[in-house]
């Protein structure tokens, strides 16, 4: 592969007490590449996402960013390496307004260290309008917003900052068909800008057009990797359900 490998996961495992959520996962994400991670409920997709975004460390295994081994102690460490995440749960503070959520943990400050509320509202307003021009009333608690608006806040804040790898865990779960199409357009645009995208979903149909590669996770293991252009919905669904081992035709390097 000629594109630069941004992130490489090797032998990632994760145990929660007796639960083996991940059992040795290898995964690469390169520049201008959309990798779809699919699998049943409980397959371990969100756990993998949270490891890659620094929410918790793996039980074992290695994460490399731009070839360098890294260990993330918090989501901020991952963000410093250009890894931004849209979580399945969105990770918004319901009592705060959109600008506060947008900049949560990296607020704009005045010279004296106070919140620069005006600049924050302007920047967040602009970023959200880019995503959805009809989304204007942003200075109210996000708990009062619709599912789609909340999702827009989560998406906007992930792509606003310097991002190399964008992780999207079920980004269209709360969206209608129109907004879902918008997100697809956004993903294509980001891909063209050279960003690597990990797109998590259990909806095969929605990702097969968008993805370059499709990785199937089942019970904490990768059971197959397919080139999106060379496969179809049925084969992917088949793999999700039956968990057939990697086909020789895939031929990815160990």
């Amino acid at each position: 592969m000629s594109a630069q490998t941004f992130v490489r996961l090797t032998g990632i495992t994760k145990n929660f007490g007796g639960v083996h959520a991940l059992k040795g996962v290898d995964l690469d994400i390169s520049a201008s590449e959309v990798v779809a991670l699919v699998g049943h409920n409980g397959a371990g997709k969100s756990v993998l996402v949270q490891i890659l975004s620094g929410v918790f460390p793996p039980s074992s295994g290695e994460i490399r960013v731009m070839g360098e081994p890294v260990s993330f102690h918090s989501p901020n460490d991952a963000r410093h390496h250009g890894i931004e995440t849209i979580y399945q749960t969105l990770a918004l503070a319901d009592n705060l307004d959109a600008p506060s959520n947008f900049f949560l943990g990296r607020e704009l400050r005045t010279r004296f260290g106070f919140l620069d509320k005006r600049r924050m509202a302007e920047a967040a307003g602009k970023a959200l309008a880019d995503l959805n021009p009809s989304f204007t009333d942003i200075e109210r608690p996000v708990r009062q917003m619709s599912g789609g608006q909340r999702q827009a806040v989560a998406i906007a804040r992930a792509i606003h900052f310097d991002v190399r790898v964008l992780i999207m865990d079920e980004p269209t779960a709360a969206l209608g068909p129109h907004e879902t199409a918008q997100v697809s357009t956004l993903i294509r645009r980001l891909r063209e800008q050279g960003i690597g995208i990990l797109l998590v979903s259990h909806d095969v149909r929605s990702v097969i057009d968008l993805a370059d590669r499709i990785v199937v996770l089942k019970a904490g293991e990768i059971v197959g990797t397919m080139t999106a252009a060379e496969t179809d919905e049925d084969s992917v669904v088949d793999m999700i359900i039956r968990g057939r081992r990697r086909e020789p035709a895939d031929g990815s390097a160990p």
Binding site: T89, L92, A93, N95, S100, G113, R143
Partner: protein, 309 residues
């Protein structure tokens, strides 16, 4: 009425009915006298400093049962350390309080023990320690400077200090990134952690602040009374929680404000003062405050159910 005006009306007339209370209290002879206003100001200024700490902890999704015992600790520590100078005594009261708060915060964040249980344990430990140290007897101070700190005319120093602390806390909660983080942690710890906030450290800081303020308030009370008593502050956690809840805080966290808590403080303080003037015995007063707290907690829960459905 504009939404803003509606909110202000509600804040002063309905939740809590502060203005109606003050109007009713006008029928009590002497309520608005200078002397009684001073008594009221003295009473609410010490409690008010505690309420501010409690409010911060509650916004962060916690609770601090230990504030009363820590007040007693601050008062006793201040009096005992007076021979080393007033500055040492004042600082020590805050420092001992901060230490107790750090202990509570550690239990909550590191050992993940429920805040009520953690701070209840700290409350019992602190109370036990000062009862043992003082042999259950109050410690008396005759230091002029210290006693002067409990004075202040026409406005008590303690009242001015409380106002200064309230303004500082308000500005920090609303104007600093730190304040946003406290609100975020209180609303949703997991979301806050996923957003890169250091949840444990933030919560610990809130308990530390609450402890320091309680210790400091206890010092001011000791200065006013001329004694550090090991037994004061038994009902303080509950009346402080009542003021914070009246002011919009919630046991679920993420809600509340210093301004609201101050209105709650004046309401609770005014009610107690009125009952004192009417000669209501203290155990009936306890029943009134306890009943009010009960109603507040029920209302808090009902409101939450409404919101989540």
């Amino acid at each position: 009425m504009s939404p803003r005006a509606q909110e202000l009306f509600s804040r002063f007339f309905i939740k809590p009915p502060l203005v109606p209370l003050l109007i009713l209290a006008s029928f009590i002879p002497g309520f608005w006298s200078m002397g009684n206003m001073r008594i009221l100001a003295e009473a609410i200024s010490v409690d008010g400093i505690v309420v501010i700490g409690m409010t911060i902890v509650m916004i962060a999704g916690g609770f601090d049962m230990s504030v009363g015992a820590v007040m007693a600790l601050g008062g006793v520590a201040a009096v005992v350390l007076l021979p080393h100078g007033l500055a040492v005594s004042v600082l020590a009261a805050g420092a001992f309080g901060a230490l107790a708060g750090t202990l509570s915060g550690t239990l909550v964040t590191r050992l993940r023990i429920n805040p009520f249980i953690s701070t209840l344990a700290v409350m019992v430990m602190v109370r036990g320690a000062i009862l043992a140290y003082t042999d259950t007897r109050p410690v008396v101070s005759l230091d002029d400077m210290f006693l002067a700190l409990g004075e202040g005319r026409p406005v008590p120093y303690a009242f001015m200090i409380m106002v200064a602390v309230a303004i500082t806390a308000h500005v920090w909660l609303n104007g600093r990134p730190w304040g946003r983080h406290v609100y975020a942690v209180g609303a949703d710890e997991t979301a806050a952690a996923m957003s890169g906030l250091r949840v444990g450290r933030l919560k610990l800081q809130c308990y530390l602040i609450s402890g320091a303020l309680a210790g400091f308030a206890g010092m001011l009370l000791a200065a006013r009374l001329g004694t550090g008593s090991p037994i004061i502050g038994e009902s303080t956690p509950l009346s402080a929680a009542a003021a914070a809840l009246i002011g919009g805080a919630s046991l679920r966290g993420g809600e509340g404000s210093v301004g609201g808590a101050m209105i709650g403080l004046v309401f609770v303080g005014g009610l107690v003062n009125a009952m004192n003037l009417l000669g209501v015995a203290s155990y009936y007063q306890s029943m009134v405050i306890g009943g009010m707290l009960f109603a507040l907690v029920v209302a808090d829960g009902a409101f939450l159910r409404l919101r989540s459905s």
